[in-house]
């Protein structure tokens, strides 16, 4: 991916130079190791600030709504699928968005890397498949493949599904025999163990709503947890309220989630919120053969009625 950044910068420069777009949305370097930050660029001189590497785990589709004029956005496979979902849901118009597609080999799991070190990481560099990570106590050379985020490990759409230009050669797609091993693992437990799993999962949740706010799907003007008349969910730390927030939010993403992993990436408490959404993704796939964001012409399954709906409650 090192080479694609040159390409991204060139494309962005040209677009701004020729005034084809007003702004380019991409990533810039962060102020701390393993951090990148979404950035918007309006001048071609600033295109040098753009970076793209395997720490760009957020989803830039989250930044393209309600922008003025035409904008360009850098999109990984999952980002592009969320752009498709935005188009279907009338959040953006296709001709307002210039998509700079980036074939993606996966983003890294920052928590897993941090867990290797007793102290803070001071330096992180990436060279192809090798990650070099340094703290004051030690220096580790890691194989990127071993430190991918779970959603990237299980990703079957690494190449953008929609784009105006590609900033790199398409990468080989992974084909998985069991695309939902995580869901199956939980499903294999008995009911009480499953319950405990989810209780343990959300135990540290502080309801900062980073998961919701990092999610490109969560654009409701008033989220159900913020609604006061009627108030659906209590606002405190009661575990029932915390869980209700998580499973209802997940349900609102049913058939729309691309498993981009931005929710888990954003969580300051390292909660794998995907344990909720993945189950719904699997159901959407098993029941409707549906994966979100692949086709601009089809509405998500929970958004449409079909006479051959596999559910039996309509009888």
């Amino acid at each position: 991916m090192d080479t694609c950044i040159q390409k991204i910068r060139e494309i962005a420069f040209q677009l701004l130079d020729k005034k084809e777009v007003e702004r380019v949305i991409g990533f810039s370097n962060g102020t701390i190791p393993m951090a990148t930050s979404p950035i918007t660029i309006a001048s071609k001189q600033d295109t040098e600030k753009l970076v793209f590497n395997s720490t760009c785990g957020l989803n830039l589709a989250n930044y393209i709504r309600q922008q003025k004029g035409k904008i360009a956005v850098i999109a990984k496979g999952c980002d592009s699928r969320n752009i498709v979902t935005h188009i279907i849901e009338n959040q953006v118009k296709r001709d307002q968005i210039y998509i700079i597609g980036v074939p993606c080999k996966g983003m890294i799991n920052k928590s897993k890397i941090k867990a290797l070190f007793e102290d803070e990481i001071l330096k992180f560099t990436e060279d192809g498949e090798t990650l070099t990570v340094e703290s004051s106590l030690k220096k580790e050379k890691l194989n990127k493949k071993d430190y991918l985020r779970d959603n990237c490990r299980l990703c079957q759409h690494r190449n953008p599904v929609i784009y105006d230009v590609l900033a790199g050669e398409p990468v080989e797609e992974q084909v998985l025999d069991t695309p939902y091993p995580d869901v199956e693992k939980i499903a294999a437990l008995d009911a009480d163990a499953r319950w405990l799993h989810f209780q343990e999962l959300t135990k540290n949740c502080i309801r900062c709503y980073a998961c919701r706010n990092a999610c490109p799907l969560c654009y409701c003007p008033t989220c159900f947890v913020d609604e006061s008349g009627p108030q659906w969910v209590g606002k405190g730390q009661d575990k029932t309220d915390v869980n209700t927030f998580h499973f209802l939010r997940a349900f609102h993403c049913a058939g729309r989630c691309t498993d981009c992993g931005a929710c888990a990436e954003a969580c300051p408490m390292d909660i794998n919120v995907r344990d909720f959404t993945r189950k719904l993704n699997k159901d959407a796939f098993d029941m409707f053969g549906w994966e979100a964001g692949l086709d601009q012409t089809k509405r998500p399954p929970l958004d449409a009625y079909s006479p051959d709906d596999p559910n039996d409650f309509i009888k």
């Binding site: 009911a191 319950w195 405990l196 989810f198 029932t240 559910n311």
Partner: protein
């Protein structure tokens, strides 16, 4: 929804979806009876109940 709650460890029989027209009174009664019986068999729910102290 039912699937997700079941996945989280809530018994499947505690949640029920049905399509009943306002004209189908007997169906409504039947469905409610069926659900009540199922839930009664499960006993009191302890999950997703607010601690209230």
């Amino acid at each position: 929804m039912g699937n997700l709650l079941e996945h989280m460890g809530i018994e499947r029989d505690r949640i029920h979806f049905s399509w009943i027209s306002s004209a189908e009174a007997t169906k409504f009664v039947d469905v409610v009876k069926e659900i009540s019986n199922k839930v009664r068999a499960l006993g009191p729910n302890t999950k997703l109940v607010k601690d209230y102290n």
